[in-house]
């Protein structure tokens, strides 16, 4: 069945972009919680807002991060087709070069994140080795950077021409 017989092409791409956004928000939340847990390991359960986030073991987030990162990446790669023709061309015509450059960098950043996922998965597998704690921390922070960067730049591009813009 042709999906475009039910809805317009524009609506279809906006739904895809919105799904990409929803997955990205979930991924951002999960990777941020893990990064906080890795940077500030819990010593006591009670305390302020940040302290209450910390008691969750960082390893508990790993499967969620991997299973959110991959579909978010794939959906982003799909939506990227529309970005290239429908968003980037007017961006260039209007001279938004910083946004174009930042978005180009985003494609490299998320790709590097994808390449790291098997290693990230491996180092967070149980049983966790104490001597790899540093590697786990830096892999988590690197992934958190890729997700935050992609989210912020994606948001800027969406504001230029996307859902609700």
């Amino acid at each position: 069945m042709d999906i475009l017989a039910i809805m317009s092409g524009q609506t279809f791409w906006k739904i895809l972009l919105f799904l990409h956004f929803l997955l990205a928000v979930a991924l951002l939340a999960t990777v941020t919680l893990q990064a906080v847990a890795v940077l500030m390991p819990a010593r006591q359960v009670a305390g302020g807002f940040v302290d209450r986030l910390r008691p969750v073991p960082p390893a508990a987030y790993v499967a969620a991060i991997v299973f959110l990162y991959v579909p978010t990446f794939l959906l982003g790669a799909w939506v990227y087709v529309k970005y290239r023709t429908y968003v980037r061309i007017p961006m260039e015509q209007l001279g938004h070069w910083w946004t174009v450059g930042s978005f180009e960098f985003k494609e490299h950043v998320v790709t590097m994140g994808m390449g790291l996922l098997p290693a990230y998965w491996y180092f967070w597998r149980q049983p966790l080795l104490d001597e790899h704690a540093g590697t786990r921390k830096w892999l988590t922070l690197f992934l958190a950077f890729t997700v935050w960067y992609a989210f912020l730049i994606g948001h800027i591009a969406n504001d230029f021409r996307g859902v609700g813009s």
């Binding site: 390893a59 087709v81 290239r84 994808m114 966790l128 590697t135």
Partner: protein, 213 residues
């Protein structure tokens, strides 16, 4: 192939321990999957960067006309902008999978040494080439630069590239040969997150024209 890693289960519960190790374990091994995963992270970062810089995609996608061409194709009139990213991605993925699969059959200490060699080679080449470029600047020497299509090319003039590569090769061979085994072993897991950083720096640097218009 496997390598025993001791853990002091009675070690004091420090911050990193609290973060990382809820289950005390006496010992474990570096599995084939571990070798594959670390090698893949490194190989993918290096290959993706090289393929992007050389602009070698497996295919070119023309989104405006929904058409795919094998390898690299310049934009054609009336067909909109070409997309190479998918082609680099697939190329890098297949190549990195092949490298990682081969690595799982090699002794782990060979892979560890190979990573040390590769990193020394890239680092020394960069430093030597930068110094040579600085010394010979203005003397009409050749240089690595991006052409109009964004592909990394070496322009004509006195060749700084070959001597820099030769020096880097010799120094990296010596360095990786004399490096103690335990250092190579200690460095090994870290390459997974270290190598993508300079790769991103290089990729970001090639985008500089967007930010300087």
């Amino acid at each position: 192939m496997t390598q025993l890693l001791e853990i002091d289960a009675s070690s004091r519960l420090g911050p990193s321990r609290a973060v990382s190790s809820p289950t005390p374990v006496a010992r474990t091994t570096t599995s084939k999957f571990g070798i594959f995963a670390i090698t893949f992270a490194v190989a993918f970062a290096v290959l993706y960067t090289l393929l992007e810089q050389l602009n070698w995609p497996m295919f070119t996608y023309h989104p405006a006309v929904n058409k795919v061409d094998f390898w690299r194709h310049a934009p054609r009139s009336g067909e909109g902008p070409p997309m190479y990213w998918y082609g680099w991605l697939v190329n890098a993925c297949i190549s990195a999978l092949a490298v990682s699969a081969v690595a799982t059959f090699a002794p782990v200490h060979w892979i560890q040494r190979a990573f040390v060699f590769g990193s020394l080679f890239a680092g020394i080449f960069f430093v030597v080439y930068m110094i040579a470029s600085f010394i010979y600047r203005g003397a009409g020497s050749g240089e690595l630069k991006y052409d109009a299509s964004g592909t990394l090319t070496y322009s004509g003039g006195p060749d700084l590239l070959t001597p820099s590569l030769a020096i880097a090769l010799l120094a990296a061979l010596a360095g990786s040969y004399f490096l103690p085994n335990r250092w190579a072993k200690q460095l090994w897991p870290g390459w997974a997150y270290v190598v993508p950083i300079p790769a991103l720096v290089l990729l970001g640097y090639s985008l500089l024209p967007y930010f300087t218009r």
